[in-house]
């Protein structure tokens, strides 16, 4: 049973560029959330998608945007990259019951130079 799949695993971008990260949720899951994890910190909630709409958003600027497709997969877009955007970006999915928590992907390590 495939869990959450994220691509790419690693990425190096230059300041000012734009990046798109991709996520396929676990089979049967329809809600996708994105988190940013800086080194040595806990994950910070970016936003959550359900039924192709952004349902909740964390304290992140508009440079961070997303999308959810009819097959529940999702993209995270970051424009005008800053050095401070360097982090591990985690995608998490869940189904209709919260009992089993969220299933996380292995993340995309983004380095901005």
């Amino acid at each position: 049973d495939a869990g959450v799949t994220q691509s790419p695993t690693h990425l190096i971008k230059t300041r000012g560029q734009q990046v798109t990260l991709r996520c396929s949720p676990k089979s049967g899951h329809d809600t996708v959330s994105w988190y940013q994890q800086a080194l040595g910190q806990g994950p910070q909630f970016i936003f959550q998608y359900y039924e192709e709409e952004e349902r909740q958003r964390g304290n992140f600027p508009d440079r961070f945007s997303g999308h959810q497709f009819p097959n529940y997969s999702s993209e995270l877009n970051v424009n005008a990259l800053l050095l401070g955007d360097s982090a591990l970006y985690l995608c998490a999915s869940r189904g209709s019951t919260i009992v089993y928590g969220y299933t996380f992907g292995s993340g995309t390590r983004l380095t901005v130079v």
């Binding site: 909740q56 985690l90 919260i98 292995s106 993340g107």
Partner: protein, 114 residues
């Protein structure tokens, strides 16, 4: 902002010993969850405890929740070298409807020495 604060930040024990990690949080919650993360990889869900529960067990894990003190503890019994990882508590705060936005602490780094 971080909702939870894990304590201690780092813990080093010998195989076979028990490990206890604590978590404090600030707002009312629907539930509290514990996750494990190995070496900067994805997080693995360990256990969820609802706000109306006080204790929960899963294998070698025991979680307690004290909503009056806004705190939780995770006990790992008979630890193994494979338990070496960072452990995070995450809260699902009340007032967010059913959207289940998780707020994480900074984590406890557990090292189990063989």
């Amino acid at each position: 902002s971080q909702q939870g604060e894990e304590d201690p930040q780092a813990l080093s024990i010998q195989e076979g010993e028990n490990a206890t990690m604590n978590c404090s949080y600030k707002t009312s919650i629907n539930n509290l969850q514990w996750y494990r993360q190995n070496s900067g990889r994805g997080l693995v869900h360990l256990i969820l405890i609802r706000s109306n529960e006080r204790e929960k067990h899963s294998g070698r894990l025991r979680v307690t929740l004290d909503t009056s003190k806004k705190s939780s503890s995770l006990l790992i019994t008979a630890s193994r070298a494979a338990d070496t990882a960072s452990y995070f508590c995450a809260t699902d705060a009340k007032g967010g409807g059913s959207n289940y936005k998780l707020t994480f602490g900074k984590g406890t780094l557990l090292t189990v020495n063989p």
